[in-house]
Each structure stands twice: as C-alpha cells, then as structure tokens.
Subunit: 209 residues, 2 copies
C-alpha cells in the first residue's frame, strides 16, 4: 500500500471503504472477473481515488484477506486460554467461526474461493495466518481428547480440517432466509463434531507407529 | 454440442479427450483464466479441432461437469437398494464419494469451484443433478436414524451438507503424497459422521413444530 504510514483517519476510512466494496464485488462476480472500475463504482469513488491508496487489484485482495484473517485470529488464543479445556473451547471456536462467516460473508467467500489468485508474496502471508489458525484449532482438539500421547498429529489435523469443511461449506448452502439459522447450524455442527470426537477411537484410526 | 448424434466412436473418443484436457486446465488455472488455446494445447489438438465438437468454453465446462455428475449419480440408487439400511449405506456413500474425488480430482474441483460460471441453461441442468444426489443422501441419513417421523427434513438436509462439507473440503488439504491416504480419510469421516449421528438427539436440535 502506498503511503501507509502517512494515512490519517480519513485515509484509513477510505481504505476500509475500498476493501469492503472490493469484497462485495469479489463475492458477487469473483476476483478474476472483477476489475478496478467495478470496485470504484461499488465504492462510489473514482479509479484515481482507488489508485491513491492501492497500486493493484492484487494488493486490494491481499488487504481484504489480511484484514479478515486478522479478525479470524484476533484475540482467539487469549480468549481460549480463559476457557476450561475440552468442549467449551471447541464450542467457542465453532460459534465464533460461523458468526465471523455470517457477519463477513463477502470476505470469507473471497478467502475460500479466491485466495489462490494472490501473487506469491501475498499468498504466503495469508497462508501463514491460516496455518496459525489451524494450529490453534488442532491444539484445542488434541487437548480435548488426546493430549500429548494420543493419536498422530496428522490425524488430529485431519479432524480439524473436517471441522473446517463442515463450517466453510456452509457458504454453498446456507440461506439467511432459510429455515435453519446460523445459531442452529452452529449447534448442529457442534453436536455432530463433539459426538463424533467423543466416540472416536482412543488410539485413532491410522494408529501410531 | 455439434453433431452429437452423428458422432462415431472416434468422435466420442475425441470429445472425451477434450473434456479430460479441459478439466486438467480448469483444475490448474481455473475456468475463468483458461481459454480455448490452453485447452487445445493440453489436448494436443488444433483450436479448429476443438470447435469441430464444441461451440464454446461454456459448453465444454458443461460437458465436463455433466459427465462427472453422471458418474456421481451413476448406479448409486440401485446400488444403495442392495444394501441393508443404516450404516452400510452411509459408509458406501462416503467411500464412493471420496474415491470418485480421488480418481477425478480435476473434475470434482472444477465442479466445486467453477460450476457457478456456467451459463444459466447449463447451470440449471447441473444443479438438478446435484439436487438429485442430495435427495439420495438425505434419504439414506433419514432412513438410518429418523425414518418418516423424525426430525425436520431441513435438519437432515443440513446434516447431509455437513457430510458433503467434510468430503468436499478435502480438495483444500488432501495431499496424495501426505501421511493420510484416501482410505484413511474415508474412515475418519465415516467415524466422525456416524458417531456424530448416533449420538444426535432423537428429536433433533431445531425441533419439529
């Protein structure tokens, strides 16, 4: 971003406005189809106004996703430390993940659908934050059932990915006007995952060598 | 497709070859970025050769996805009828879903990622087949635990989508060279889902009115 350090509050507001508008455009027509004109129109700004803050569409995508991953990580780790281990932590993670999704559906769909469009240097920075989130979730699952000497780390990682799959897939079917609201989905996922994990073999399925 | 009825075996082979090549290109660079030149190069054919069979990239995408959905539906319903109700049917569905994925990862990623790029007339035909698949899976889950008077149909539908989420999300993390193979993933998903469903409340979470 150009002149980041020099941004006053008005400038920061503009950047935020551009990112929100860009996320809406990416959500609607996809990153690859979107161009600077679409983003400028959505933000009700001139293209020159956008270029004052960003040098490319790639940079805008990075800012959209980096801000979103900032929300996803946020104070998650200290918040989890306040909770007793096991069920409450996993319940908290699921609820928080789905609420973030529901309140930022444009950004989360863009993350899931378009983050592979980022240029390499930006992709690495987002992937780093995604790995950080995965690590926190894997730890919470391990702690709940297996501790240090349980099943293979990669099997717990697979379980974390199943949980992400259940949560993230919602963007393909969840209808805010439909009969199942976000709270209900969150409880359904929590029930399936917790019952699934409680009954899961103590020594796992792939077994430790 | 042009001249479908007149296609001899050689023509059918060509169509198959173009679809396989197109799926590989879409998998690698995405449908929106891909063009007819990329597909022709991948299929080792001339662009004219491609146009002999297809009139547009949209039509190729439709054929790729329609063939894949043909495999997904295939003889699924008669095969399920041969199995006892409950666990065996759901186990069969999960195993089959993941095997199809593993053996057709280009087509399945294209379905998950790019089917929204189809023009409306084609999108409807693919969506119809997806709904058909959903119906079969929802029935298998209902039959296992709830029968006719169990929980709301939309809650069973949500459970089916959670299962799809776990299975389909694999394309974001599954590494054929990694420590967890497709069989293990299939058993992990099956375990989590079956334990999750067995312990699920008899009257559901959203309750019937």
């Amino acid at each position: 971003m150009k002149k980041t350090r020099a941004l006053n509050e008005k400038g920061q507001q503009k950047v935020k406005k551009i990112c929100r508008a860009a996320a809406r455009v990416f959500y609607r027509i996809g990153y690859l189809t979107a161009n600077l004109d679409d983003i400028a129109a959505e933000a009700k700004m001139s293209k020159g106004g956008i270029y004052h803050y960003f040098s490319s569409k790639d940079e805008i995508l990075f800012f959209v996703l980096d801000n979103y991953m900032g929300l996803v990580l946020g104070a998650l780790e200290p918040q989890l430390k306040e909770l007793p281990p096991g069920e409450p932590k996993i319940e908290f993670i699921i609820k928080r993940h789905l609420e973030l999704y529901a309140n930022h559906k444009e950004e989360s769909k863009t993350l899931l659908h378009d983050s592979n469009c980022l240029s390499s240097k930006y992709r690495k920075r987002i992937a780093h934050k995604e790995r950080e989130y995965l690590r926190i979730v894997v730890n919470a699952i391990s702690e709940y059932k297996w501790g240090k000497d349980g099943i293979k780390r990669e099997e717990v990682t697979a379980l974390a990915f199943l949980l992400f799959g259940m949560c993230n897939w919602c963007y393909n079917w969840y209808d805010p006007k439909g009969p199942i609201d976000v709270n209900a989905i969150s409880r359904i996922i929590w029930t399936v995952f917790m019952k699934g994990i409680s009954g899961y073999p103590e020594d796992g399925i792939t077994k430790k060598n």
